[in-house]
Symmetry: C2
């Protein structure tokens, strides 16, 4: 039986750990809470990004805003397709609840507003790291923690089948 | 009959014009398209401001985002009341329409998205200029033109009666 030296083992483990940390591309510095499959993290400062559009999700009864970083917004304004590497989008979702002030004053909801926060969903364009999924990496987070791998397996097929003509992005810029 | 010199007339007209231009406070450089009563204009770059919250308006069937300038966002984050002078908010509204991609793929709307742009509504805090209306000036615009005086007469009474406890602002920061 062959013996394996301890230094070799340490080096091998370090190499594997390095691969694991580098392969799933992290959108921000930390890979600790990276999404399954993609390793996408929640980018710092995303809540301050510019609005691409609001939306209402029927099935989940949510209000959402879809935000873009500077690279994404430049591409949206200039109608650049495909989106360049470095483009990032954040879809921020809340439960859709009646405006209580409106209810009290008028006896019926005149407006719906954000209730409890639900998910934050991130898309990151990196044509090399995510070549197998149209150049996009996906991350879906609840309370800043990524959801499981099964959920992440649904991202790309749905975006590909329904938004391929717009570089996999559902959201259009609200002008 | 007394005669009035042309230079005097010119000076008088200029003075009145100056009063008319300065009294209704203009949020940006131009007072050309200022709102009736308040003289509020559409601030440059408002579409790039940060998101306070999205909303859905039932009666008008609209999706909206409410944006704030840096002064407003600082006050929202620090829960400062009343809002300081210089705070500005923009409520940007679109018709609420089904996402066509969703319809085509699934046979029923799963999401609603922004359709045609409807109104842009601006609030400007200036406690001296707008002392009579809680420190806020209002402007409601369609296709960048202010709507009529009758519509602007409704702004303050409604905000005062229904949002007085939050310095006349309906919108809460979506966290």
């Amino acid at each position: 039986m062959k013996t394996i030296s301890v230094p070799f083992l340490v080096a091998a483990v370090a190499t594997l750990a390095g691969l694991a940390a580098s392969k799933p591309f992290a959108a921000s510095g930390s890979a600790v809470d990276g999404s399954p499959i993609y390793g996408v993290t929640i980018p710092a400062g995303y809540r301050q990004w510019e609005v691409i559009a609001p939306s209402q999700e029927v099935g989940l009864d949510e209000l959402r805003v879809i935000l873009g970083n500077a690279v994404a917004m430049k591409a949206y304004r200039e109608r650049t397709l495909p989106f360049p590497d470095g483009a990032m989008l954040a879809k921020v979702a809340w439960k859709r609840v009646p405006s209580l002030g409106d209810d009290a004053a008028l006896g019926a909801p005149t407006a719906f507003v954000p209730g409890a926060a639900t998910t934050v969903q991130i898309m990151v364009k990196d044509s090399k790291n995510y070549a197998a999924t149209g150049g996009w990496g996906f991350g879906r987070f609840i309370a800043s923690k990524p959801v499981d791998e099964a959920q992440h397996e649904t991202c790309f097929p749905c975006h590909e089948s329904r938004a391929k003509g717009h570089d996999m992005l559902f959201t259009q810029y609200a002008r």
